[in-house]
């Protein structure tokens, strides 16, 4: 029997972990409040006139705050993809022979139920990087469609932070109307359907990380908590 030895590898910096958990928490906030905005699924059980309760308004506030936080984390993530001093994710997205081979190997590892595992699992692999990138693209689509829906309420061209804000939102997001099918409702439908794609993404993401931890026996789940995992070293 082979002697197995583990080495510790750093995989996520503290800032990357903060971004991960900020995204995770505010994604739940966005989904819970977003479903309410789409169709209010609980009733306001507060007696008294409408002026004293603000249930839909609080939900919308929570949804928009979550959106603003996603705005910020998205910008940071895009920056880190290219300029991170730790690990530049874009390098794993280039369809080079190495990356394509690694992508295929990791995918084979998944569908052969870990019977075949012939790649270096110590670093971030190109399969997972592609999968994370899909999430960021979905999130960016949500940001653009969501801001388009939001700017409908700023039609006076004014906002509390100045008239540049609605102008910029129109400039940046008006393309979503023709892109989703031509009217305001298609933007809304696209925003809603994309939420389901994101939920499905999250479900698989959690499953896959747990699956890796169980079958690879390298403590992958620890990456997002402590920032490091243990890779097997063959001796």
């Amino acid at each position: 029997m082979k002697q197995e030895c583990y080495k510790k590898v750093e995989r996520m910096t503290a800032s990357m972990r903060i971004i991960h958990w900020a995204n995770a928490i505010f994604m739940i906030v966005a989904i819970v409040t977003g479903l309410y905005i789409g169709e209010p699924y609980y009733q306001t059980l507060i007696a008294g006139p409408a002026v004293h309760k603000y249930v839909m308004a609080w939900n919308r506030l929570g949804h928009f705050i979550a959106a603003v936080i996603f705005d910020v984390t998205s910008i940071i993530v895009v920056y880190l993809y290219f300029f991170s001093r730790f690990e530049k994710s874009y390098k794993k997205l280039i369809p080079s022979a190495d990356n394509l081979h690694e992508f295929a190997e990791v995918f084979l590892n998944l569908i052969t139920l870990n019977r075949k595992k012939s790649f270096d699992s110590s670093h971030s692999d190109s399969f997972n990087t592609v999968y994370f990138t899909i999430f960021h693209l979905l999130l960016i689509f949500m940001l653009f469609t969501g801001l388009q829906l939001y700017v409908h309420g700023l039609e006076s061209g004014l906002s509390s932070i100045g008239s540049w804000w609605p102008w910029m939102l129109h400039f940046a997001t008006d393309w979503t109307i023709p892109a989703t099918g031509g009217n305001l409702m298609t933007v809304r439908i696209a925003h809603h359907v994309t939420m389901w794609l994101i939920i499905a993404w999250i479900v698989f993401h959690i499953y896959y990380q747990i699956w890796r931890t169980i079958f690879w026996q390298e403590g992958d789940l620890a990456i997002v908590v402590g920032g490091s995992k243990f890779a097997k070293e063959q001796k």
Binding site: G153, G157, W167, I189, W196, F215
Partner: protein, 413 residues
């Protein structure tokens, strides 16, 4: 990249926003006032075309006194987003509206917009004002029929060439070479009819959702290939006044603006006048407080409905609909859809019949699959997707557990 693609990309990034500029400064309005005054004096010097109706007498006959008329004039001035000092000009402009020739044609429609003008409980000022326009041709209203009607139309086009305003009601069927709708003894298709009449018009005003965006004739599966006027007519100023029916107040507003300034009102990216379609119904809705409070009508006739709660959960599309119903209402501010306790169906938005009018929240809506035929709600789609993910994960997890066991047995050997 083809020229058309380039154009559409350009259009995408230069789309006018729906921003409404309600205050352009004193100098601008002083200039506008003088030019309007001059134009009205010129129009006053012209003789009325055919319509000799005396507006003051007509108003008096209907029991509307001068005070009511001036109240209407100041409300209309506000609707056009002009300063209060323009009220006397608006009152004057109404009197000279019979100097502007109008031709009104109907295509694939139900005459609902004409009906909206005619069938109010008693004619209100907006409707009487539309009586004073010099209507040279209107298929539904005129006495002439057959060849006489054809001749009347030809006469009107020849006499007022380049000067008349063309009102269009109804969609234009383009399918089967336009043969779904023909008019007259020569079976001229609606499309040819519209192109011929619009080529001599000063401006084309599309009234109602059918004429603007295709409306109900263009609803899926759109067998006749119906489209709106702006998809057929080119090279002419086009104004869209959507809604089903279009509000007479907005029709009067556009004509008045033209009479007053000689120009068309400022339009948004869908060619709708901003004074009417610059704001959402939702933002000026009388039930808006209940929306923010989370107080909704849960089913028809419940205590929420009796307390005028928000109709969002009953499918009100006010939050996605740009129109001024909640401000000016219908039939001289008598009432409007939300006011009578039913939701907005977004009748003034493109594709309203397919995308807005399903009378339930969007999250519950039947979304048509791109392939057609199969209908699933957005959330059902989501649950199916999630179930598929769950089943896939389940199969994979169970298989992994079994395979993983075999692996470790192999290792142990």
């Amino acid at each position: 990249m083809g020229k058309d693609t380039m154009e559409s990309v350009k259009k995408l990034f230069t789309t006018q926003s729906s921003k409404v500029d309600t205050n352009r400064g004193e100098a601008y309005y002083a200039d506008l006032y003088n030019s309007c005054r001059k134009r009205l004096d010129e129009l006053k010097a012209l003789p009325p075309i055919n319509n000799k109706l005396d507006l003051q007498a007509a108003l008096f006959d209907e029991g509307i006194d001068r005070r009511d008329f001036l109240k209407w004039a100041s409300a209309t001035t506000a609707m056009l987003m002009l300063p209060a000092s323009f009220t006397p000009l608006v009152a004057d402009a109404v009197q000279v509206m019979n100097r502007i020739p109008v031709i009104w044609i109907e295509l694939s429609d139900c005459a609902g917009n004409s009906e909206a003008l005619l069938r109010s409980d008693g004619p209100k000022i907006d409707e009487i004002v539309l009586d004073i326009i010099s209507l040279e041709f209107h298929e539904t209203l005129q006495a002439a029929a057959g060849h006489q009607a054809e001749k009347q139309l030809e006469d009107a086009i020849a006499t007022f060439k380049g000067k008349y305003i063309l009102f269009v009601e109804g969609a234009v069927p383009l399918g089967m070479d336009g043969q779904y709708g023909t008019i007259g003894a020569k079976a001229e298709t609606f499309k040819d009819h519209l192109i011929r009449l619009s080529s001599d018009a000063a401006a084309v005003i599309a009234v109602g959702s059918c004429a603007t965006f295709g409306g109900i004739p263009a609803a899926a599966p759109n067998p006749t290939g119906a489209v709106g006027v702006m998809n057929v007519v080119s090279g002419k100023p086009i104004i869209n006044i959507p809604a089903c029916p279009a509000n007479p107040a907005n029709m009067v507003g556009v004509v008045l603006h033209y009479v007053l300034t000689g120009k068309l009102p400022e339009l948004d990216s869908l060619l709708r006048p901003k004074f009417a379609f610059g704001y959402r119904i939702h933002d000026n809705c009388e039930r808006r407080a209940h929306f923010d409070a989370g107080e909704y009508v849960e089913e028809w006739g419940d205590s929420g409905a009796k307390n005028n709660f928000c109709l969002y959960k009953m499918g009100c599309k006010g939050p996605m609909t740009f129109n001024n119903c909640s401000l000016i209402r219908y039939n001289e501010a008598v009432n409007w859809p939300v006011g009578v306790g039913r939701g907005c169906i977004g009748c003034s938005e493109p594709d309203f019949w397919d995308k807005y009018a399903y009378e339930r929240p969007m999250a519950n809506a039947n979304i048509k699959a791109p392939s057609g035929g199969v209908e699933k709600t957005a959330d059902e789609f989501g649950l199916v997707l999630l179930t598929a993910t769950g089943i896939g994960i389940g199969i994979h997890a169970v298989a992994s557990a079994i395979a993983g066991k075999k692996n470790s047995e192999k290792d142990a050997e």
